[in-house]
């Protein structure tokens, strides 16, 4: 998949191509509704606001002391035999991982879910080196063999139904499989079990790294995280540098906040901890554990007004309530991070010029802010990004906003615009709606209808007294 927002396509175009698929909003809607309902039920009996305040405080404190905690984590992880590599950007991270994989003489790489590896395009880079890279999360495996990107953070293959998946598996493996989730899962279990046992290198993400003990933890339901970190001889983990907690005490808060926000359960099936490679007296486990700590633009974010976007613990709750996300799905965003979090994070990581338009992929309704377990002010950040994007806006857009500001800048000009609009709309109003207007307004009406201006405006009716005789819609 594309490691960052593709430079050639705009959000508008990607969204339009997604909207052609009428089934997508329905399946995404079902998946997100279910998760949001369970999230609400999980927090209903609790002090939800107090929990969010506490989680926010933990994240803010950790980020404000990030240098100290990263240093402590690195020291203690190294003391346990873990090799810690600090990568300034994606290129450095890729170089390092390729080097480790080459040194291991690897042929097959088993991959667990890792947003950081998606961010730097690791899977494709290793494939280009001639390695067999297998995604082992069932949903990720499905989209990998379909040649697609995930469409939802915790339900990557939600846009496929069982018949399509049966078709896909049957074609890829030359077998005949029924469209039955149990049978399909059992088949994938067999295929992927073989991968785990033959892979030379396992690659995983990191949900939290713990500074005090130099440990890190992965949150999974399937158990593939435990597989990729236990069976291959070499384990490489990737983490964004903000993904750290001071001690296990904070994990006691953040793990259930992450899991319950994602789908309502208090815990997932596996919280898998890694405390370094196999010890001398242990019968199994990897001989080498590497962890790549990735900056890749994060230190820049840390310095400015958007710092709190790094509070994110990747639960996906903001996606589940986002009306834009529900329509266009993960693919519409054309980036690793989708939904409200993606609309803020992607432009910050890949640059305003490449992905600045994602800041407009929001209605600013604020539903995401209400559900965020670490209280990221996503709407404020979206507006802040739009402010930045305005600096890149074309001359036409700047001129129209300048004109708008001028027109509404005085009472006289405002009245004039209202008069001109009421006159002009008579030509284009059909059955009470403006459906097609001339350029430049056609850019709006191409996708939306517009209600006409009321025949008499608020000011006129105010002057006439509260019980104006006309109906408010001017008919």
């Amino acid at each position: 998949m594309t490691p960052e927002a593709s430079p050639s396509t705009r959000f508008k175009d990607r969204a339009a191509s997604q909207l052609v698929n009428r089934r997508l909003p329905i399946v995404i809607g079902n998946a997100t509704d279910l998760r949001e309902r369970r999230r609400r039920e999980a927090f209903a009996p609790l002090d939800g606001d107090g929990l969010r305040d506490a989680a926010e405080a933990v994240r803010a404190h950790t980020l404000a002391n990030l240098d100290t905690y990263l240093e402590r984590f690195a020291d203690r992880a190294q003391a346990r035999g873990t090799k810690v590599f600090f990568a300034a950007d994606g290129a450095e991270a890729l170089d390092y991982v390729r080097g480790v994989v080459r040194q291991a003489g690897a042929r097959v790489v088993a991959k667990g879910k890792s947003m950081a590896s998606e961010e730097i395009g690791l899977g494709h880079a290793l494939e280009a080196d001639g390695l067999e890279v297998v995604e082992t999360d069932l949903g990720e495996y499905i989209v990998q063999i379909a040649g697609e990107a995930p469409s939802h953070i915790t339900a990557p293959a939600v846009h496929h139904d069982r018949a399509e998946i049966a078709e896909l598996f049957s074609r890829t493996h030359g077998v005949e499989l029924p469209p039955d989730p149990e049978a399909l899962t059992a088949f994938a279990r067999g295929v992927l079990r073989e991968t785990f046992l033959t892979a030379d290198v396992g690659i995983s993400g990191v949900n939290f790294a713990i500074a005090e003990t130099g440990s890190f933890v992965m949150v999974t339901n399937e158990g593939n995280g435990r597989m990729v970190t236990s069976l291959p001889r070499v384990h490489i983990a990737l983490m964004g540098m903000e993904r750290i907690v001071p001690t296990h005490r904070e994990l006691g808060l953040l793990l259930p906040m992450l899991v319950a926000s994602a789908g309502g359960r208090p815990v997932t099936t596996y919280f898998s901890f890694v405390n370094g490679p196999r010890r001398d007296d242990e019968p199994d486990g990897p001989d080498e554990v590497h962890i790549v700590v990735l900056d890749n633009g994060r230190s820049g974010i840390l310095a400015g007004e958007f710092r709190s976007i790094l509070h994110c613990i990747r639960c996906g709750a903001c996606q589940n309530v986002c009306p834009v996300y529900r329509q266009v799905g993960g693919h519409g965003y054309g980036s690793v991070y989708a939904g409200p979090i993606g609309a803020v994070l992607t432009p910050l990581l890949s640059g305003m010029d490449r992905a600045g338009d994602l800041a407009h992929a929001s209605s600013l309704c604020g539903a995401c802010v209400e559900v965020c377990p670490v209280k990221i002010p996503l709407v404020e950040h979206l507006i802040g990004l739009r402010r930045l994007a305005a600096k890149h806006a074309g001359a036409g857009e700047r001129a129209s906003f300048f004109g708008w500001a001028r027109a509404w800048g005085s009472a006289r000009r405002y009245r004039f615009v209202g008069w001109a609009g009421r006159l002009g709309q008579r030509l284009v109003t059909r059955r009470g709606r403006i459906r097609r207007a001339p350029f430049p307004f056609s850019r709006w009406t191409a996708d939306r209808d517009l209600p006409p201006l009321a025949r008499r405006g608020f000011r006129a009716r105010w002057k006439a007294g509260a019980n104006g005789s006309e109906r408010p819609d001017g008919t």
């Binding site: 002090d47 929990l51 506490a54 405080a57 803010a60 404190h61 404000a64 990030l66 240098d67 240093e71 990568a87 300034a88 999360d137 069932l138 499905i142 339900a155 990557p156 293959a157 939600v158 899962t185 279990r189 992927l192 046992l197 003990t213 130099g214 440990s215 339901n221 399937e222 158990g223 597989m227 970190t229 236990s230 069976l231 001071p246 296990h248 005490r249 006691g252 808060l253 259930p256 906040m257 899991v259 319950a260 208090p266 815990v267 099936t269 596996y270 898998s272 901890f273 890694v274 405390n275 370094g276 007296d281 242990e282 019968p283 199994d284 486990g285 900056d295 230190s299 820049g300 310095a303």
Partner: protein, 222 residues
């Protein structure tokens, strides 16, 4: 990038604005609990798609036999059933041995290099657990010299035999123990129920990668 340069860049970005302290305490989370009772633990275990029971020490062999029969019932008739038994259950070795044999399950206690191969073939893996979390039905498995990782990972089903006195109320109460395992194990894991996925049409299927079934025996006094 050199570690010092990397951390220097972070330090510079942070500036010297004062940082807020960590909160002294947290409100109850969705994984918090007030009672460390076996009843609560078993109820939550059931919700997680697993099963369990409290047994007195004298009932243990029978309980192991029943659990082994139930956990291996999915296997075909002609299959030879084996169980790998991790040494961390040694305090209950006699009862486990008898129970498994009564259920018709062969016991395999491989040498260190043989664990992976044996566990791959086994219908059942038997391990202990360091603690149980009553509010979530989780068990803390601590692999190490006496408990290979693969014993709780590769077999088709997982049987935990642990002393009943190791329950804590909530997830946060387990955290000090989890932190302590960093010094004794390279890969401790909190396990809640069998491996599961809902990646196909959001339908829950158990046993995608790890064990398909889990049973926990909480062993009480004689």
């Amino acid at each position: 990038m050199e570690r010092e340069a990397f951390l220097g860049r972070v330090r510079q970005s942070l500036g010297d604005a004062p940082a807020a302290d960590l909160p002294a305490s947290f409100p109850a989370t969705p994984a918090s609990g007030t009672d460390a009772t076996a009843e609560r633990f078993l109820a939550e275990l059931g919700k997680a798609g697993a099963s369990g029971s409290v047994v007195a020490r004298y009932e243990l062999a029978d309980a192991v036999a029943d659990a082994a029969r139930a956990l291996t019932s999915g296997a075909g008739d002609g299959d030879t059933l084996t169980a790998v038994v991790a040494p961390d259950t040694d305090e209950f070795a006699a009862e486990i041995e008898i129970g498994l044999r009564v259920a018709g399950v062969d016991v395999d206690r491989p040498d260190a290099p043989g664990w992976r191969e044996a566990s791959s073939r086994a219908a059942l893996g038997v391990t202990s657990a360091e603690l149980g979390v009553a509010s979530t039905g989780s068990v803390l498995i601590v692999p190490g010299a006496a408990s290979p990782r693969v014993a709780s990972l590769l077999p088709t089903a997982h049987l935990v035999v642990m002393p009943a006195g190791r329950l804590v109320a909530g997830l946060e109460d387990a955290m000090p123990t989890v932190a302590g395992t960093a010094d004794v194990s390279s890969a401790p894991v909190l396990v809640t129920g069998p491996s599961r996925t809902s990646d196909i049409e959001m339908i829950t299927v158990l046993g995608v990668h790890g064990p398909k079934a889990l049973h926990v025996l909480l062993v009480g006094e004689w």
